[in-house]
Symmetry: C2
Subunit: 114 residues, 2 copies
DNA sequence: TTGACTGGTAGGAAATCTCCTACCTATTCT
DNA sequence: AGAATAGGTAGGAGATTTCCTACCAGTCAA
């Protein structure tokens, strides 16, 4: 029974993948420090390594990272492309909040004309 | 025990609020159709009204909507400002995926020089 | 005031998430 | 070959999410 008539559900949802702070931190590490093996990623967290592996699986399923094997290591690399879905979703709201800001500025100009 | 050393946790996390497709749909309705009472929002979903109320509470806690009472109705209005946090988070990745696209284009140019 | 209507909250069931400790395979080193 | 290392998977505990059905208070219309 598909109970979400709403939207989204890719194979796995990018929004859901981003909901967890540990996973956002993993993406940040990959962005700032480049591709790296699991242990190096895991060393940043106060969490058992298998748990990090599971977060990596969620990110992989969402297409946000890719795996590249090198000997017994597996290097994970950021794949930022799916984030375009988020950006695209965000765009119409951006226009909205800009208008609000403009309205606020107009209001301030009215009330306190220099 | 705060177990997320990572990041994020505002009063309630905007990312977490966006993780649910029903809540994203609610935001879309408020964006496209403007402020409206709960029943009109709920009519779009195959879900009991109290459940919609709970989703609205999550959005309210994340600062994404505001409530305005008018008689026995409560009109909910989109408050897009917290989405800037998402936008700001996204920005460095945007640069990254643009570079990747540029690299791909360069590669194509090399392999198939017109 | 009574009855209908709007919408929040309580309590609970079921599903899902997040973490853990084993445990497994594959690779590398000696 | 045998030991050590990298990292995935299984199974499960506990927390959280998501939905439900009552049930409640406030507002409006008769």
């Amino acid at each position: 029974m598909t109970r979400n008539a709403a939207a989204g559900s890719a194979a796995t949802d990018v929004f859901a993948a981003l909901a967890n702070p540990t996973r956002r931190e993993l993406l940040r590490l990959l962005l700032e420090e480049g591709p790296q093996p699991v242990q190096r990623l895991a060393s940043h967290f106060d969490m058992a390594r298998p748990s990090v592996s599971e977060h990596l699986k969620v990110l992989r399923d969402a297409g946000l990272i890719s795996e590249h094997r090198s000997g017994r290591e597996r290097h994970y690399r950021l794949e930022a492309a799916p984030l375009r879905r988020v950006r695209d979703w965000l765009t119409p709201y951006e226009r909205f909040w800009r208008e609000k800001l403009a309205n606020l500025r107009d209001l301030l100009d009215e009330e306190e004309p220099s």
